[in-house]
Subunit: 288 residues, 2 copies
Amino acid sequence: MAAIAAAVDRHFDALLPVPDDARADLYRCMRHAAIGGGKRLRPLLVAAAADLHGVDREASERVGTAIEAIHVYSLIHDDLPAMDDDDLRRGKPTAHKAYGEATAILAGDCLHALAFEWLADADVHPDPFVRAELVAALARASGPAGMAGGQAMDLAAAATPFDLTGITRLQQMKTGALIAVSVEAGAILGHVPPEGRTGLRGYAHDLGLAFQIADDLLDAEGDEDAAGKRLRKDADARKATFLSLLGPERARAQCRMLTEQAVEHLHAYGEEADLLRAIAAYVVERDR
Amino acid sequence: MAAIAAAVDRHFDALLPVPDDARADLYRCMRHAAIGGGKRLRPLLVAAAADLHGVDREASERVGTAIEAIHVYSLIHDDLPAMDDDDLRRGKPTAHKAYGEATAILAGDCLHALAFEWLADADVHPDPFVRAELVAALARASGPAGMAGGQAMDLAAAATPFDLTGITRLQQMKTGALIAVSVEAGAILGHVPPEGRTGLRGYAHDLGLAFQIADDLLDAEGDEDAAGKRLRKDADARKATFLSLLGPERARAQCRMLTEQAVEHLHAYGEEADLLRAIAAYVVERDR
């Protein structure tokens, strides 16, 4: 994790040089939100899934950085006063607190565009079919059928009562889609055809749900200093979550069951999938 | 223009069906901003440039719709209270006035992601190299080195005094980059290699600047009902613009000179470039 986190920071640092013009604050804001901190779970998943198929680490790090750029842009926009109105993220002031709302909105938009610019770059992969497939998969996962659509549902969740099926769908879109596309990207880079991705897709699906339940538990029981952000937001907003619907005991059991199931999906792989298995174990145990 | 505008509306309508779930308002907001009204200059440029090289109209319309989606997302975000704080756009309430700020931010983000999803789709072009090149070009044109970077400079323009060189660079990024990539996309679809695009690039460069000067003149002298949006914003913000730096007479002359220059760049083409020439004439004469 530390090696991938350092690589992602290095890539962001190289890709976001502060220009000597009126856009300096825009770039500083992107760097503030993108560099340092964060679990870098998505780049780690790209690298772990790509490793299975002998993909060059430089390539999987670049793709991981592009997916992380989408994740970071979504955090910047979700933290805005009109959305979740948060002041603290990764132990630092949120982007709009540090640079103002207008710059934060634009910094999010820029990271969004840059993610696709980086993915479409020939340095990522010499085969344009791979690049086009990566772009299509990431765009689908981050748009209205994925992450942003899930966030729209989440905004409605305070007003509309969601049941367990509804919450599952919401979370599969809001956080699950980007986790799934991270694993999928490793397979795309490894030239694995769609029919060969069933195990990896099952793993990513269950991992994504386990991750979200762990997130709900952390929100309710975690330490704000360790998390580096405001917690107890779900209870304050009286939102239906896995936790509010299942209760802490069943939620914890469900999270453990899902990670076991995630690991079972990897049965066709040997020790080359141990990193993916370790990630599943981390997801239940993490404190941030 | 009417045919392309109808085609763009038809594509948006087909690509943005309102789902029967908690995302209904998100989709309604995208449709509100994307469908109906607008000059559709960018899709028109894609089609006109693609026509030169015998590209199928269905393909150029799809690419034009994707570029227009980027344009529409930028209008939604630029209109937000934290940015230009506008209530009226294309004669209708702005997206955040109609659907609230949170939904408007997400609708912009969704159109942004969808633009790349549509471009990367195999239906746009069977050659993945073409699709990857379209994505890379549009991402570059809309990110910090293009449209969004220009908008960041524009926000700084009220505080920092820009000279003519500075304003030219700002406008080449803010509006010029998306106009240029529209023409470029026609060439990419037509398999024209970069060294064969010099004339088209010269045309797009001069057209983009002429378009912006015409926009400044409309802002100062135009009719708000015809424009369908608030005008006199530049003067109110005391921003340096082409108009404030050149004065109305020289600005008008410069706009005419640039469109003539734009047309001269097309000298290698015969009557197959008449639509591009007509667009240049329209840009100086338009009233909205």
